[in-house]
Symmetry: C2
Subunit: 324 residues, 2 copies
């Protein structure tokens, strides 16, 4: 059966890079694309940043490709992640030949727990000037992200580090750490643990010591953006939000209002997200072809201004599609 992919370009450069990924997917596979709207503009027009039909489309499609949303980002992406049942947010941060990186040997994959922590937070106004947020950690979610992370690491040949701040968040991050470690021990898998603050420093100084990093939700948010900085910026980082039956793919970057509309957005992060989508849907060879084409273009093809070139989004698109 033909896979159905929901396509939600969103705002800003989302509208410019998502069509490139669609063209790439079309070139390597047989997919049905169904379009839907979300984001700041959608809110201005309809009153809701994430209309119910968009949510339903994502909840029913085999996979969703999302671009970016502006101010409404959290109102769009968090419910969409929930709609696809995502529990694992996978964020590879690799240095690519031909792209300036602080550490050319960087090859990291953040496996971010995607349902709990402060993101499951219930906020309360105790008085007008005293507020609380209640962060949630469960053994079930910790073990589930661990299963996913250790599978991914074993399949792709990575070492595993568990990030945490259990010296301060003793019972909650302690539960996370114990839950992840229990899965590792059951499998006889090796791992290291790292305090998230110390890890931030070590990643900056020598990322080659790390491979898969299994993280609580907010730690994964911050550390993966940090890693984007190591390898040339958000223009290159894809991500997958993986659930048991469906998944959502999105570049890690935002709407880039400073360059939106100029036709010079870097489509690589979104095209690499499309490659992850192919693999998720079972088309490993197609995923590899896309990634291979992107790597060639990064090495010697046209570059958008964020990578120091003067190519347009269209130049990069043509160059990738030509190689498929």
């Amino acid at each position: 059966m033909t896979d159905r992919i929901a396509v939600i370009p969103g705002d800003g450069i989302g509208k410019e890079v998502v069509p490139v990924a669609v063209k790439v997917l079309d070139a390597v596979g047989d997919f049905v694309f169904e379009y839907a709207e979300a984001g700041d503009e959608t809110r201005a027009q309809t009153g809701s940043a994430l209309p119910e039909e968009t949510r339903e489309l994502a909840a029913a499609a085999d996979a969703t490709l999302f671009g970016a949303a502006g101010e409404t980002a959290a109102d769009v992406i968090l419910p969409l992640r929930e709609a696809v049942g995502s529990f694992a947010n996978v964020r590879p941060a690799r240095a690519y030949p031909g792209v300036d990186a602080l550490h050319p040997e960087t090859d990291l994959v953040f496996v971010r727990e995607n349902t709990e922590g402060v993101y499951a937070g219930i906020e309360s106004e105790i008085t007008e000037s005293v507020r609380t947020l209640t962060r949630v950690t469960t053994d079930a979610a910790s073990q589930r992200i661990a299963e996913f992370g250790f599978d991914y690491a074993a399949e792709n040949g990575y070492d595993v580090t568990i990030a945490h701040k259990a010296n301060v968040m003793r019972r909650t991050d302690g539960l996370f750490l114990d839950g992840v470690a229990a899965v590792a021990d059951e499998r006889g898998a090796d791992y290291e643990t790292a305090l998230m603050d110390a890890l931030a420093m070590h990643l900056v100084m020598d990322p080659s010591d790390y491979g898969v990093v299994i993280c609580p939700n907010l730690a994964g948010d911050v550390l993966s953006d940090l890693a984007a900085g190591l390898v040339g910026g958000l223009g290159l980082l894809p991500s997958a939000n993986v659930g048991p039956d469906r998944a959502l793919f999105e570049p890690v970057h935002g709407t880039a209002p400073d360059i939106a509309g100029e036709g010079v957005a870097n489509p690589v992060a979104t095209v690499l997200s499309a490659a992850m989508c192919c693999e998720y849907l079972g088309y490993d060879a197609a995923g590899e072809r896309v990634r291979g084409a992107v790597l060639e273009v990064l090495a010697d093809g046209p570059r958008t201004p964020d990578l120091g070139g003067d190519a347009t989004t269209e130049d990069v698109e043509r160059s990738i599609v030509d190689r498929l």
Copy 2:
């Protein structure tokens, strides 16, 4: 009146670097030093990582100089910060001439709120496998750190960035952001705001865009360690935990068990913390002298192995003290 400084070397290299800072303080001022114990060894001997007399000494002294503690770090440093009434944790991260840094123009000062957020957290075991941590944010603490941060920035000529994650922690980090911004607006001071994830990336790519960064507690913990990575590691980063009547000074680094006892620990972070201590106590000229001596030694004096040299702690000590 002679200022009383409580001295708590702690564990590991804390015992090696704190004496250097004491010698330096002795060379530039007239202080009374009172020693106390804390840390892993103290716990092994007394059953408590932070004996009551140590806490009381810090709570009564004009300033406290702390080294590092091992596994018990959180049990020692968090109550000590509270004992001195610290509400602002000040962490300069500067690139120094002569020391390899990813970005030689880095000159950052993290002003970290030091009483709330997850650190004020109440953790609960809802069931054995479901736990919560309740993060606290108040308007009072947000305004207090803002007053401190904007004063510091104005006195030292820095721009201000407010770090937050108010797109997810809307009411709590929203209150922090509003509280800090309200202080800025009252003063007519300029500032930028930055999401802590995006800021992590930007700091890695171009820290020269930033000066003083006012942060919630955990954000400050992670971002300041990240910044240590930018300027050559924790061996160089001093910090001050400032309260209204007293303060505690400590290197940002830990006990470094891998090199503890070998006499090669880098004392610079602790000596720079001592310089901050001089300034806090009102001896600006002494603080400047110490910092000047350290800068000269970093530029062309002996270096410990963490900076690529083969000098001992004692070599560096002698070289600093000789210049005072």
